[in-house]
Assembly symmetry: C2
């Protein structure tokens, strides 16, 4: 089974990559851009089919490795 | 209006970040992990409401700045 994990900087925290993209897009003529935030997406292929078990295991992976819970939030989706 | 852009390494191309995560997860005891790929997600807030116009403009942004079309594929979703 495949899942997708989204890891985004928490709202209100500085996101220098997002700001850099924002400035670059405006300088390139995309004046309609108001705000940009950049995060990570991690696609996992797992040898497991039990959805509830997978949810718990992937949340455990996020807390231990994939996301820094001090500055990032995550959510998990099936694909 | 808000859109989300996903930028992933193309299938078949090397993804060292994904491989590093894969190895780390297995070493941490998540033996069910078979494959990992890591990409970027970019959330854009736009001063524009016409969905067709936005789709064209955001694809233009992807081609010019957000994705490297030689090695990455992208897709755009409304949120």
């Amino acid at each position: 089974m495949k899942v997708r994990v989204y890891v985004m900087p928490k709202d209100g925290l500085l996101d220098p990559q997002g700001q850099a993209i924002n400035i670059a897009l405006i300088n390139m003529g995309f004046a309609e851009v108001k705000k940009v935030r950049q995060g990570k997406v991690i696609e996992l292929e797992l040898e497991e089919t039990d959805k509830i078990l997978i949810k718990n295991r992937v949340e455990d992976m996020c807390q231990k490795l994939l996301a820094n819970s001090v500055i990032e939030s995550f959510h998990v989706e099936d694909i």
